[in-house]
């Protein structure tokens, strides 16, 4: 009988510890490469060589070609990964923390807390993000900190809205009532029971938001509000390259591909992690 069970198709291919390692390893590798960038045998990413501009991928000395100023694309991709990953991760984390905390509080305590948080969520979702970003960045000056805060502001409302709804549903479940009836205080129920029960939701939302944050960063860079030269991010490279798209596709396409692959891997990793962390889905 075991043979029959073993040969049964798995529910989705992104399951189990193997999937976590399979999707996690390329991301870890990317992270290591990004951190070790200065030690790698790469040309200076900002070194201009107008004699070697717009070289196609595969050119000698420039494996992924050069841009219109003759800067090495491979080197720029590796250095760009540092800021892109940093911005994506920190922007996503800040939004996740703020949104999850507010969502939990609003859903559990309801009443006035819920009214205020829900009002903030509605206000946040009603204001066009780019407009808000322009206002905040131009009034506070362009810096990495301001950029990260703007990106956190961009993503927190999504978490808050989803977590609030799920907390509302969870708080009336008998197990929460049983813990309250047993005298377990609210903060402990929130931290030890309601938060873990929504970790899967937060994780999946976070992986989706990391992609959204990286894209938002590139949109801001495109408007000249995000990362600017000489700093490099994939989003900035993408927007710089779009003018040459017709005759030098690789300048925009390669950072776009890097964003695509990274966001995809993060999403798949999130899905795999969720199934491993949930004991109900654990395989024995």
């Amino acid at each position: 009988m075991t043979a029959v069970v073993d040969s049964m198709p798995r529910a989705g291919f992104v399951r189990g510890r193997g999937a976590v390692i399979g999707f996690g390893a390329p991301l870890v590798l990317l992270l290591i490469v990004a951190i070790l960038a200065p030690l790698l045998p790469l040309p200076d990413p900002n070194l201009q060589d107008l004699g070697a501009s717009l070289l196609a991928p595969g050119s000698p000395g420039h494996a992924l070609g050069t841009d219109q100023l003759g800067r090495d694309i491979l080197s720029r991709l590796v250095y760009g990964a540092r800021l892109s990953l940093l911005i994506g991760a920190i922007g996503m984390l800040l939004g996740a923390i703020i949104g999850t905390v507010l969502g939990l509080l609003a859903g559990y305590y309801r009443g006035i807390v819920d009214i205020i948080v829900s009002w903030l969520i509605d206000a946040q979702l009603a204001i066009p993000f780019v407009l808000l970003a322009i206002a905040l960045i131009t009034s506070n000056g362009r810096s990495l900190i301001v950029l990260l805060l703007v990106l956190a502001l961009f993503s927190w409302a999504q978490y808050a809205r989803v977590i609030r709804g799920e907390t509302l549903a969870l708080r009336s479940r008998p197990f929460v009532l049983a813990l309250r009836a047993g005298g377990v205080p609210g903060y402990r129920i929130l931290l030890r029971h309601l938060l873990p029960n929504q970790a899967g939701t937060v994780l999946v939302l976070a992986t989706l938001q990391m992609g959204a944050v990286m894209l938002a960063e590139s949109a801001l860079s495109f408007l000249g509000l995000g990362v600017v030269s000489p700093d490099i991010s994939w989003g900035a490279m993408l927007s710089e390259g779009k003018d040459q798209l017709v005759y030098a596709w690789w300048i925009a396409a390669l950072p776009g591909l890097a964003i695509l692959i990274t966001v995809l891997l993060v999403n798949l990793l999130g899905d795999a992690l969720r199934s491993v962390l949930d004991p109900r889905k654990r395989r024995y």
Binding site: R110, G111, S172, R173, P174, F175, L177, A178, L179, R180, A181, G182, G183, V184, P185, R188, R192, H193, P196, N197, D278, P279, R280
Partner: protein, 262 residues
């Protein structure tokens, strides 16, 4: 002797968009130690609302508008004043309806029981807490408490989960146990074993119990007195014999006649 539970003139109202809707009206009942009181009634009769008000677990838009509740002579609720923290777990344990969701699905059941225990005995050393937890699980008729304690709720059957829920309510040795439809979702044989367990727990520990059910036959089996509720009011309250043999109210007669005979 101080009554274990004394409810006087309890009225509970829900604030809705259409104004205040009374859920429970002028309910009075009391319970002595060692006594089992059954609260019987159809869905929506206010059984659950009444017992939840004893531990202050009403929904936020629902509140006690008049009357008082006292547990062991200590007033826990009267208009304008509430004090549930001092009795939750310590003096009153609650078992909720449903078998699937009365335990946190992501925590091993032993850990959940210890968590409630530690709320009330903060200085208890970990080894002793574990010992108490295992003893409580063992008292629920499990042959291998260690193994049950290590399990996640989904690894246990419905009847086992409900017995673990009873252990969760019993671990602090409360004087009053409230069983809110705790056998409704179980099959008949499992129901019987849970009822037998509750019955022996009450007599061994000299506890009082409120047993909420829609099943008059179960109430008859377990309870000393029965309180019949309908539309938020007590329509009949008396000893089990009185209520079952010579019901005074038409509604109770109708309920009795609705029991299939065989």
């Amino acid at each position: 002797m101080t009554a274990l539970l004394d409810i006087q003139g309890l009225t509970i109202t829900a604030a809705t968009s259409r104004g205040a809707v009374p859920l429970v009206r002028d309910v009075s009942m009391s319970l002595d130690p060692g006594e089992v009181l059954g609260i019987v009634g159809e869905s929506g009769s206010g059984k659950t609302t009444t017992v939840r008000s004893i531990v202050g677990l009403l929904d936020p838009n629902v509140s006690v508008t008049s009357g008082s509740i006292s547990v062991l002579g200590r007033t826990v609720s009267e208009p304008g004043r509430e004090d549930y923290e001092s009795i939750r777990g310590r003096h009153v344990g609650v078992i909720f309806q449903g078998t699937g969701s009365s335990l946190d699905p992501l925590m091993r059941v032993g850990k959940q029981i210890i968590e409630v225990l530690r709320r009330h005995r903060r200085q208890i050393p970990p080894a002793q807490a574990k010992q108490t937890m295992l003893e409580t699980i063992g008292a629920m008729g499990f042959a291998d408490p260690e193994r049950v304690a290590r399990s996640y709720p989904h690894e246990l059957s419905g009847g086992m989960r409900q017995r673990v829920s009873i252990a969760l309510a019993m671990v602090t040795r409360p004087e009053l146990l409230i069983a809110d439809e705790c056998t409704s979702a179980l099959d008949v044989t499992t129901q019987k074993s849970v009822i037998a367990l509750l019955s022996s727990l009450v007599s061994e520990n000299d506890m009082g119990m409120i047993f909420v059910t829609h099943d008059l036959m179960l109430a008859q089996e377990l309870c000393d007195r029965i309180c019949v509720m309908r539309r938020g009011q007590v329509v009949e309250l008396g000893t089990t014999e009185q209520v079952m043999e010579s019901p005074r109210e038409d509604y109770t007669k109708a309920l009795l006649e609705a029991i299939p005979s065989w």
